[in-house]
Amino acid sequence: MIGLISYLIFFTTVAAILSIAVLGLNLQWGNSGLFNGGVVAFFGAGAYGTLILGGTPQSAHLGGYELFYPLALLGGMCAAGLMAWIVGKLTIRLRHDYLAIATFGVAVAFENLMRNAEALAGGAQGLRGFERPLHAWLGDGFTYNAIFLVFVLILLIATYKFLEVLIRSPFGRLLRAIREDETAAQSLGKDPAKIRLTSLIIGSVIIGLSGGLYATFYAFISPQDILPILTFQIWAMLIVGGAGNNRGAVAGAFLIWGAWTASGWGLSRFAPLEMQLYTGSIQFILIGLVIVGMLLWRPQGLFPEKLVVSQSGRTKHVKNRE
């Protein structure tokens, strides 16, 4: 029984952490129409940033500044935001393909850098020497994981509330206006490039938060954790859940993460021995089929975006049609 509960806690923690990343992506893609092809780079920047700033000193690589944990986490988020600023600054005024290619490229380059630069981040062996916060008081076991789950859930709810407020604010309306008709927004004196860049950075900071939490949970990060497949998984979560809808994004995260873990377990349990080497390939094909299938048959996702009609004078937001 306790085994099942601790597994559930483990599963919920990871799914909740990934939900935060999906929420960040939803701001970029769902609300602003920005294509982020390298979610994993911003996730990784948050993870590496947090561990480097908050870890204990190591002789082999940089880091070990033993910063107060919330500051370390914040530092990781800033690293993700800074990366988004650089990529966005260079590409946001160009055709949308450029952002897609540049973000994809930054993910490849980031993983490559982390894998090779041993002095920076431990190379392929990953980053060690991070003590989980409050570790001395709570130990390593069940209690710690339960409390950490509560911490993650609080941050998930906070992110959700923040985004709900943000997209209902004038800024959020502006984002959707630019997504729908850039020229019209421009004619009203708005600067689409600036607004899109802001949205890209906020989204990436949120993805960075997710990465920081992920690294805290495992007290370890290595290039194996920031492979391109994570980008696909996070996308699949958003597409299945429904781009533009924050509740859908969270639901999609739990659904896809559940399906991914279940398929991994099923394949390792029931696939014949000679097929075991290929279970990864089968899972990748499945996630590819989920993405393509959803786009073909239900592009709006399971929980479609509720279009908000703003009417001045009367109530602030009237949800009148799906």
């Binding site: 893609w29 129409g33 294509f35 092809g37 260079l90 590409t91 005024r93 160009l94 055709r95 949308h96 393909d97 450029y98 897609a100 290619i101 540049a102 994809f104 490229g105 930054v106 490849v108 380059a109 490559n112 850098l113 894998r115 090779n116 391109p228 696909f232 996308w235 597409i239 080497l277 290929y278 390939s281 089968i282 990748f284 094909i285 996630i287 590819g288 089929l289 989920v290 993405i291 393509v292 786009l295 073909l296 592009p299």
Partner: protein, 304 residues
């Protein structure tokens, strides 16, 4: 130094072939096709299968041509593979891209292309195995072209370069001398006006996929011939090919051809200062450099 330069040119010719098809599709259909590099994988594996088939049907085809490791059977298989890969490109377009385009925006197609790439790559892995394959198990020794400066080149590399240049030259003739070439350029410049003049847009798009697929297949085989074949071949070449299109300016066919060589040379020259582990990140640095210095690339036009 000179060795890196020559290696860069050899790799560059492969990237050019891939980038020409990608830049055409990106310009015409207005989306970054992340599954394009998988066409190289399809081409490489397809040629491998037909190489085997031809050798089984008629054994003398298994003889190698001159100093190359290339057999007559493989040479024939390249042609078949180009046709089949072109066909697969159309099939993918009909099955996925056309339908997604009808339902959603251009960005949905980028998502879809990622999904397609994922499916193709892993299906190839399931069919052919995850291990590295080679067209020929014979060891072909590199020839020392000169001792000072020291320069080693494999005959297969020379063949790939010459063949790639011939293919590009033929394509250039088609573009500049035939009515098909004119209509292709007309559509690229102004699709509406081209249609008014009686050019069938969907026919041109079909042809673009055939040509893009065919060029990609040739690139895949040449890569397999000079390196090795594995299911992640497309994934590894994707970023360099994208870099080539950005260097040339998205939409410019000649830019893509030149961009391929530039990316190949720059990546190889960078190995003089950087450890070789960093080479997968090189195309990204090139993309960054282009975006900072000249975002429209060599021949790109200013448009959004």
């Amino acid at each position: 130094m000179i060795q890196h330069l020559v290696d860069g040119i050899l790799v560059g010719s492969i990237l050019s072939l891939g980038a020409i098809g990608l830049t055409m599709a990106m310009h015409m259909l207005r989306f970054a096709n992340f599954s394009h590099a998988e066409l190289l994988s399809i081409g490489a594996y397809c040629a491998l299968v037909f190489d085997g088939v031809f050798q089984a049907v008629y054994a003398p085809l298994g003889n190698v041509i001159g100093p190359l490791s290339l057999t007559w059977a493989l040479a024939l298989a390249i042609v078949i593979s180009m046709a089949i890969t072109g066909g697969s490109a159309i099939l993918i377009d009909r099955l996925v891209f056309t339908r997604v385009r009808a339902k959603g925006g251009e960005l949905s197609m980028v998502f879809a292309s990622f999904g397609v790439a994922m499916i193709i790559r892993n299906v190839l892995g399931l069919i052919f195995g995850l291990q590295v394959l080679l067209y020929s198990k014979d060891i072909v020794f590199a020839v020392v072209l000169s001792r000072d400066p020291f320069l080693l080149v494999k005959p297969d590399q020379i063949f790939s370069l010459v063949a790639a240049l011939i293919i590009m030259f033929v394509f250039h003739l088609v573009l500049s001398r035939t009515t098909f070439g004119y209509s292709l350029r007309a559509v690229a410049e102004n699709p509406e006006l081209a249609q008014v003049s009686g050019i069938n847009l969907s026919r041109i798009i079909t042809l673009i996929w055939i040509i893009g697929g065919g060029l990609a297949a040739a690139a895949g085989v040449f890569y397999g011939l000079t390196n090795q074949i594995n299911p992640v071949l497309g994934r590894d070449l994707l970023l360099p090919i994208f870099a080539a299109t950005i260097v040339g300016g998205i939409g410019s066919i000649y830019g893509a051809a030149l961009g391929g060589f530039l990316v190949g040379i720059a990546s190889n020259l960078a190995l003089l200062i950087l450890p070789s582990g960093y080479s997968p990140a090189m195309p990204f640095l090139i993309i960054l450099a282009v975006l900072i210095i000249r975002p429209t690339g060599l021949f790109g036009e200013e448009r959004h």
